[in-house]
Structure formats: C-alpha cells, structure tokens
C-alpha cells in the first residue's frame, strides 16, 4: 500500500543519537563531511571510521539496514571507481590492453575515492535514519534563523518544507488513483519506447497539477482559519532546547575535528 510509505528513511529506535537535538546532528554531519576532505593519506580513515562506527553503534540502527541503504548508490560508486582506474595516469603501467592502461596510482586513487564516497553516504544517511523529517526542518529553521536579519524568509521556507513532506504520500496516492482511472479508459503506460512512455505521462501530470493547486488553495484556507499569520508571535509545541548531552556531542565533534587536523599536519 502506498500509504504505508514512511517518508525519508527514519528508523525508529530509542538511542542517544536519536535523542540528540537535530541541530547537533546537522552540524555534526557537516563537520564529518568536511573532515572527509581534509586528508590525503589513508591514515585519515582511521579516526573517521572510528567516529562513524561508534556513532552507528550508539544509534542502534542495525548495520545491515545501513548497508541496504547503500545499494541505491552502487552504480554511482562503480562508475567513479572505473573512471578513476582507467583515467588516472602514472609512470609504469601495471596492465595494458589496447588503449586501456592501468597504473598503480589509478588503483590507489580509486580505492581512496571509493572509501571516501562510501563513508560520505553512510555518514549522511545516518542522520536521516535517526532524525524525523519534522525535526530536520525544525533544526534547519533554527540553524538558519540568523539569516532573518538579511530578510531571508527562514520560517516560511521551513513551513513549506514540512508541508511538502506531509503531502508527498497524499500526492502519491492521488497519482495512483489518476493512473488507474486513465488505465481504465485504455491508457497504456508500459509499452513503447522511452519517448512514447514519457508522452503517456502527460495525461497523468495535468490532472495532478490541477488537483494540487486546488489542494493548495484549500490548505491555505485551513491554515488561515487556524490563525496562521507567518512566524511572528508564534510559540512552539516542541521547542528545540539544548540539553547536557548536546553540549557533550558538540565537544566530541570538536575533538574529532582537532584529531583530523593533527592527522593532516603530521601524516598528510
């Protein structure tokens, strides 16, 4: 059933990582992503892996579940690996066949990039596994709040994001309904080449657009009825508040960053 789709990939569990303030997790993910690009030698992977695996362990998200999430990017990963192996030039080729020459340098870069990409994806998906979409938008709203000084409509953008998240399943269900209605009248979405199939999508998209506009109008009215008037003078039901554990987490992030900077200085 389409309505069972849980949005994003939130994995409900009651762990310390899940309970952390979303702002800590967003900042932590950024720190982690930056840290991956700090070093050029394999030594750097020791602290990053220790950091990542302890986070995964603390989050209680099963490792299998995380690996499953990687499946979606296997193609991208393979593509990067092959490109790196083929196109990196060195001095002494290891292997030669027609125009393909493979150098040891190529294998090294490919390995390095492969590990980096895998860690990058695992790290950022850990955040979406442990944070609900609502928490994420709340966290982003608070983190970007200073931009309000420059007249960036932070609250409004966050509200738009959470409404979009709320309506994705509703619209999916609607698409399903429209497709069935069109199929019942003889529309064919499965046959023909890619252009014909793309063309067959038009009679789905048009009614979908029209009904979304109608929905948007209704929703705007429902929001007005409930006294929505922008972010001004608004209180929160679940305000974000830093607790002791959040400051500790920030401390850990700082230590981690410091460790990697040391690796960069002494080991390259």
């Amino acid at each position: 059933m389409i309505r069972d789709i849980t949005l994003g990939q939130y994995y409900p569990e009651n762990s310390i990582i899940h309970r952390l303030d979303p702002r800590v997790k967003i900042v932590g993910t950024l720190v982690y992503l930056v840290s991956l690009f700090l070093f050029k030698s394999f030594w750097g992977y020791i602290p990053t892996m220790i950091f990542l695996f302890s986070c995964i362990h603390l989050s209680k998200v099963p490792f299998k579940h995380i690996v499953k999430g990687l499946k979606a990017v296997v193609m991208l990963l393979m593509f990067t690996l092959i490109c790196n192996i083929i196109f990196t030039r060195g001095e002494v080729p290891l292997f030669e066949w027609k125009f393909i020459r493979i150098y040891p340098e190529g294998l090294r870069t490919a390995g390095f990039m492969g590990i980096r990409l895998t860690l990058l994806i695992t790290g950022s998906s850990l955040m979406t596994f442990t944070t609900t979409p609502t928490q994420l938008t709340d966290g982003l709203e608070r983190l970007f709040a200073p931009l309000k000084l420059f007249k960036v409509p932070v609250h409004e953008v966050a509200m738009m994001m959470s409404i979009a998240l709320r309506f994705i399943p509703v619209l999916l269900e609607e698409t399903d309904k429209i497709m069935k209605a069109q199929q019942a009248r003889g529309a064919d979405f499965e046959e023909g080449n890619i252009f014909q199939r793309a063309k067959a999508m038009v009679p789905i998209l048009v009614p979908l657009f029209i009904s979304s506009f109608r929905r948007a109008g209704d929703l705007a009215m429902a929001m007005e009825v409930r006294c929505y008037h922008g972010g001004e003078g608004r209180t929160r039901m679940k305000p974000l508040k830093y607790k002791g554990r959040d400051f500790i987490a920030y401390g850990v992030q700082l230590l981690y960053l410091a460790a990697l900077i040391l690796v960069r200085i002494f080991l390259g």
Binding site: T134, R166, A222, V225, C227, G233, R234, M237
Partner: protein, 288 residues
C-alpha cells in the same frame, strides 16, 4: 454570539482585463442570530449559498453589503481578525486538505502555536481535545494512516485546541462513509453538550439535522425557512421545492398521512414513528 444583518455577497467574475463579466448574488438579505451554546443546522441544496455564508462567519469572505458580528466584533474590523477566527473555528469538507503537519498531535497544536500560547499550555490543550474527540491513542501517528472519519475528528480537535466559542462545520461528512459520518456528528454533538460550544453544522444530509436546536433552510442565497427540526420537517412538500429530501421515516409518515392514516406531522426518528403508528393502529381497532 453570531449575528448577521442584511448580509449580501456577490461573486464577481472578471475577464482577463479585469472588467466585470458577470455578477452572481450568492447571498441575499440574510438575517440570522445564533445564541451561545446552540446547535444550529444550515440546510440547503448545492449552490444554495450555505458554504458562502459559512465563510462569512469567520471573516474568510467579507460581505458586499450588510454586516456580520462575531462575539461582538464586526468581521470587517481587520485588527481583530485573529480574535474572530479564534472564536469561530471552521472545519472543511475534505479531511486531507486541512491537516497541515505530519504527526497528529503536532497538527492539533498548530492553532495554539499560531496564537502564541505557551508551550506547556499547548501540551495540556492538545491532550484534552484529543481525548474529547476520542483520538488520544493516535496522537503519535501520521495522519495519512487514519480513516476519513478519524482525520475529520483530528481536524475538529485542531480547531477545538484554539478554545473557540463556536465551531462551524462546512459539510464535514460529505466525503465520508456512513461510519465516519456517524463518528463526526456524534463528536460535534458531544462537544456541544459537554463543553457548551456553539455548533453550526452545514449539511445536506437530513439525518444529521434532527438533533439541532434551530434549522435554517437556504435556497438561492436566501434563508427560506427557520424553525426547529420538527417544524421544518412538518413541511415536506415545501422542502421538496427547495430540492431537499426529508429523513426516510418522515417521508413515510407524510405519505401514510396523505393516504388517511392518522399520524402527526414532523416525525423524526424510527422510534417516534413506531410509537405513533402503534397508537394509530390501536385507535382503529388494530386494522388499517
């Protein structure tokens, strides 16, 4: 509580240059008065102007002529818009399009958040209203998993959390199945009885109207009949003129009466019918 005086509203259709193409009078000379604590029903066929009237009662639409007063405040008074909307909450037809956030309890808290209610009080209000609509056990769920009737109860809770004096239900059951319809109407009744909230129910289902204190019947933008459900349903032939049906038992009693069975007019429930019919049989010595 809510009062309208010579209220009229025109829908103006304009062409691309902004010139007036046609003017449709959707409401015409409406004078109604709703008392605090009443359960009021507004009946009317499609296009009779009942939804347009509803939208005037909490300042979504502004009158073309005449005035609307909500709790002593005129709706054209822009500075008091929030006060008006807080006092007269509204629930719409489509349950999907009025739930704004992704978790039931957060959505119910949306109204109080907008009003600037302190966090602790929001939690108390959310718990209380979810309990009063019987949805407390679903508080952590996604609204997408609920049935139509449940969604509509959540929508009612979302309005109730703003502590309104009056709630306006604009055909809240039109998109629901019979079970959901019963749930929603029962919830509205209970809020009216237990919490003393004024309920204005707009509908074209006759069965939902029988328990109301006052019924207004609308046709082409005018209020054409006013009275208790019994008074209204005694005039079956007149209702048919306005493209409205009466509850099945009422229609049956009406037809039997025409055929000469001595039944009173305005029978509203099957129980009443049974009693009156038995009495009629007894009076004739058991044979009709």
């Amino acid at each position: 509580m809510i009062r309208t005086k010579e209220l009229a509203f025109d829908y103006i259709r304009r062409d691309e240059e902004g010139n007036v193409e046609s003017v449709t009078r959707a409401l015409d000379d409406i004078n109604i008065n709703v008392k605090q604590g009443d359960f009021v029903a507004i009946l009317g066929a499609n296009g009779s102007g009942k939804s347009t009237l509803a939208k005037h009662l909490n300042a979504i639409l502004m009158p073309t002529e005449g005035e609307v007063w909500v709790n002593g405040i005129k709706t054209t008074d822009e500075d008091n818009l929030l006060e008006i909307r807080k006092n007269a909450g509204m629930v719409f037809q489509n349950p999907d399009n009025q739930i704004i956030l992704t978790v039931v309890e957060e959505d119910v808290g949306f109204g109080p958040e907008n009003l600037g209610v302190p966090t602790k009080e929001i939690w108390e209000r959310v718990e209380k209203v979810l309990k009063s609509v019987g949805m407390l056990e679903f508080r952590k769920d996604s609204p997408n998993k609920l049935s139509g009737g449940q969604k509509q109860r959540v929508a009612i809770a979302g309005i109730m959390a703003m502590k309104p004096k009056c709630i306006i239900l604009d055909e809240p059951t039109a998109m629901l199945d019979p079970v959901g319809r019963k749930e929603v109407i029962a919830t509205a009744r209970e809020l009216n009885k237990k919490e003393g909230v004024t309920v204005i129910l707009i509908t074209h289902y006759m069965e939902e109207v029988t328990g109301a204190d006052v019924v207004f019947v609308m046709d082409s933008g005018k209020v054409v009949m006013t009275g208790t459900p019994r008074q209204i349903f005694s005039r079956v032939d007149q209702l048919k003129q306005f493209r409205l049906d009466v509850p099945q038992v009422t229609a049956l009693a009406h037809d039997l009466r025409k055929k000469g069975v001595p039944l009173p007019e305005g029978i509203l429930t099957p129980e009443e019918f049974e009693e009156a019919f038995t009495r009629a049989c007894d009076a004739r010595g058991g044979a009709i």
